[in-house]
């Protein structure tokens, strides 16, 4: 990036509002050395603004907490978080480990990507495994087979065992209605619970991360990013992702209006027909309940265009577990989910 990118033209015309007591106008001309434009305000573009906000959040946490950790699944939001963290602490390394809550229902490509990314960034990876909990009886397999809700206990145990006091999550407010009410710094009590009716007010960019022993703070550096912002940023920064985010041929079958991949944890029932389609994933999670979408988007630019034109939300299109009820996410979050 050169200094020239600092000066961004504000594309808007200068004056509006002609029946008001006051009008909105342009400020005075620019000092020397800055490119003269029709509207010569110095304005960061929206991706630079979001990036700077996220970097500020990462740095605040590292400065004020003793043991932060970043939740890393290999999904696009966690990949973007790791990219931002690397930028925030350049030229040093990312100063905290990653934590993966492994459902055991992973897409193999995502697991391979995870290990590649960890090696490349030189960070430590902790893994908490849902399968261990099922094997020794602490958790029971659900009748519907999905393991997304089962991640909460291993997550809370890992936080307690490692005494993590700040946990970076990739949650975005545009994803879901309960998340729209979430703070950037979100306090969790010793049970990991979220109390949506008793959240701290969050003013300016003064984040209050104070907590008592046993409590921890979930931090959401991507709070203000939308799915489209994430994709535009992936395109701009040329960020490598697991290949299943791009259109590819895959054997799928339809269940509850979603296209599920044929795999060891998602076998079709007798009544379900397997077909090969060109698909991609908008989210990656538990393979048994994460749906693919039909897509021709082979490149990142194709995906940006597809996401900009979509008529379905990311979770509505791809997550069976969020279709359970209007408040499924709120209920999971109250229990300590991501």
């Amino acid at each position: 990036m050169s200094a020239a990118t600092e000066t961004v033209r504000n594309p808007n015309p200068e004056t509006v509002g002609n029946t008001s007591p006051g009008t909105v106008g342009n400020a005075n001309p620019e000092p020397v050395g800055i490119v003269e434009l029709a509207d010569s305000r110095l304005t960061l573009d929206h991706l630079d603004t979001l990036e700077s906000e996220s970097i500020h959040i990462f740095r605040e946490v590292v400065a004020e907490f003793e043991r932060p950790v970043l939740l890393f699944s290999g999904g696009k939001d966690s990949v973007v978080m790791l990219h931002l963290a690397a930028k925030a602490f350049w030229p040093g390394p990312v100063p905290f480990p990653l934590l993966h809550i492994d459902t055991g229902h992973n897409f193999p490509e995502v697991l391979a990507y995870r290990d590649r990314a960890v090696a490349e960034k030189g960070v430590r990876l902790e893994v908490a495994t849902v399968q261990d909990y099922i094997d020794d009886g602490r958790l029971a397999e659900r009748r519907d087979g999905t393991r997304n809700p089962l991640q909460t206990q291993p997550l809370l145990d890992a936080i307690a065992d490692h005494r993590f006091d700040a946990v970076f999550g990739g949650g975005r407010r545009d994803e879901e209605k309960a998340r729209a009410k979430e703070r950037i710094f979100s306090l969790r009590d010793e049970f990991g619970a979220w109390d949506p009716r008793n959240q701290r007010p969050e003013l300016w960019n003064l984040y209050n991360g104070r907590h008592r022993p046993g409590e921890h703070v979930r931090v959401f550096p991507l709070s203000n990013w939308t799915e489209l912002d994430v994709w535009r940023y992936i395109a701009r920064e040329d960020i490598d992702l697991p290949e299943l985010y791009y259109a590819h041929q895959r054997e799928v079958f339809e269940r509850d209006g979603m296209l599920l991949a044929v795999g060891p944890v998602s076998a079709p029932r007798e009544s379900e027909t397997v077909v090969t389609k060109q698909v991609r994933y908008r989210t990656v999670g538990d393979m048994s309940c994460t749906g693919a979408v039909e897509s021709d988007a082979v490149t990142v630019q194709d995906v940006v265009i597809e996401v900009a034109a979509t008529r379905l939300t990311e979770r509505g299109a791809t997550r069976a577990d969020d279709r359970i009820s209007e408040a499924a996410m709120e209920d999971r979050k109250k229990e300590g989910y991501f």
């Binding site: 029946t19 003013l203 300016w204 907590h211």
Partner: protein, 453 residues
């Protein structure tokens, strides 16, 4: 009969192929009284700007039908919590996102009840613009004055008043003109010179996204057009440079590139103004002067950078700089102080009298503090200070505060970032108050002296 024009300039699908490579980001907060149609307006903005997706709309229509409503209740798009839907009210600030070809918007949808003033303060603290709703039939209410006062107090750069339900007064110009005149008067009282008003019908969509032919006496832009054209923030080139240090980047042998083993940079987000290599700066509260040697990002070095970019600064002198310090332009640096006169909005259910010893968080520095005096509480309706000895939830009061360490505080009226602080309970960690140094309502005018720090 279709009465609005059908120009559709707001489809998100256009954004990917926008001719503008650099869309900007505008932060909005909405405010209004109960039943003035605020949620409907927000729903209308999202819906008409094509930011509501099909499955969200399906859910809203399903719930509306279950409740026996004839039309989809767009307010359900923003009321996200179980308790909110059950009680039919908005409890907490909800953040919404929509985009047009030129601009992305973050909308903080704030509850309208008087008891949630603290949420309006929260939403307004980061806003570039506040959109306030007024019911055309009711005109300027106490709650309107209250919300305008909060916007003035928090120094939100732009205030837009949507005079709503204009359809219910027969699109009568006289009604609108009367309300607009009352608004102008309040705006002058509060020192809000840039207040913009316009007539809308959130329910029917007039002047929300598209200009309405039913208000042909109003020749101004629609609400969305106004929002698209507003300057994003104060122009950094007219601000004084301020940079709170978040931490020191000093990787030593952990550097990812051996060439950076000796690197020492100070990481932070530019709070205001522009910084250039070679600029003279002062490090506060210590007061050492030095020069900017380099401006670094992970993508390379910059010759100059401006707010709100996150960067790392290198200095020419090897001086002691740590988290909590403020690097400021040498020509305009504030004088560090331990005694503040401040205006606070009390956010806790427990009164101030139980919290005279607190933590004060200002930029990146947290220090112990004592509230030494309560000088009064703001009567928001009359916009004047009346005497008081304590502050309770939602009160806006004037305090004197003594800090354990000197802080580089400045009048909030001039510096939104370096004039803001939090009061925090040291035991529970709860945020007690939002603080603004000096008297933001008096601005920089003649009354400012009394409250100067």
């Amino acid at each position: 009969m279709p009465t609005t024009t059908t120009r559709n300039h707001a489809a998100t699908s256009e954004t990917a192929t926008s001719k503008h490579l650099h869309p900007t980001l505008l932060r909005l907060a909405t405010a209004g009284s109960v039943d003035d149609g605020k949620s409907t307006l927000v729903g209308r903005l999202l819906h008409d700007s094509k930011s509501v997706l099909a499955d969200q709309l399906d859910a809203v229509e399903r719930v509306s039908r279950d409740r026996g409503l004839a039309h989809a209740d767009l307010a359900l798009l923003t009321d996200g919590l179980r308790a909110e839907r059950e009680q039919g009210i908005t409890i907490d600030v909800a953040y919404r996102y929509f985009a047009t070809a030129d601009r992305s918007f973050i909308l903080a949808d704030c509850p309208g009840h008087v008891q949630y003033t603290r949420n309006t303060v929260t939403g307004a603290s980061t806003a570039d613009a506040v959109v306030l709703l007024v019911d055309a039939r009711k005109g300027v209410l106490e709650q309107t004055r209250r919300h305008l006062a909060v916007a003035a107090l928090l120094r939100v750069p732009h205030v837009i008043v949507a005079v709503n339900k204009i359809d219910l007064v027969g699109f009568d110009e006289d009604v609108y003109t009367r309300v607009a005149a009352d608004l102008a008067e309040v705006a002058i009282d509060l020192g809000l010179p840039d207040l913009i008003s316009l007539p809308v019908s959130a329910l029917e969509g007039d002047n929300v996204v598209d200009r309405s032919s039913r208000t042909d006496w109003y020749t101004g832009p629609s609400l969305l057009e106004i929002l698209e054209a507003l300057p994003v923030a104060d122009d950094p080139s007219h601000e004084e440079f301020r940079f709170p240090v978040q931490l020191t980047l000093r990787p030593q042998e952990a550097a990812r590139d051996a060439a950076h083993r000796e690197y020492r940079g100070y990481a932070g987000q530019i709070a205001s103004g522009v910084v250039r290599v070679g600029d003279q700066v002062v490090v506060l509260p210590g007061g050492r002067r030095t020069t900017i040697a380099g401006i670094d990002t992970a993508d390379g070095t910059l010759a100059e950078a401006f707010a709100p970019r996150s960067v790392a600064l290198r200095l020419t002198d090897d001086i002691d700089v740590a988290r909590g310090d403020l690097i400021a332009a040498a020509t305009s640096a504030p004088e560090p102080t331990r005694d503040l006169m401040a205006t606070v909005c009390w956010l806790s259910a427990e009164p101030l009298s139980k919290h005279s010893r607190v933590l004060l968080k200002h930029t990146t520095r947290t220090t112990r503090a004592i509230v030494s005096a309560v000088d009064g509480v703001l009567d928001l309706d009359a916009v004047r200070i009346i005497s008081a000895h304590d502050l309770g939830l939602n009160d806006i009061g004037r305090l004197r505060i003594r800090t354990a360490e000197p802080i580089a505080a400045e009048p909030y009226a001039r510096h939104r970032r370096t004039g803001a602080f939090l009061l925090i309970d040291a035991q529970s960690g709860q945020t007690l108050a939002a603080g603004m140094v000096g008297d933001p309502l008096a601005g920089e005018g003649e009354h400012a002296d009394e409250w100067d720090i």
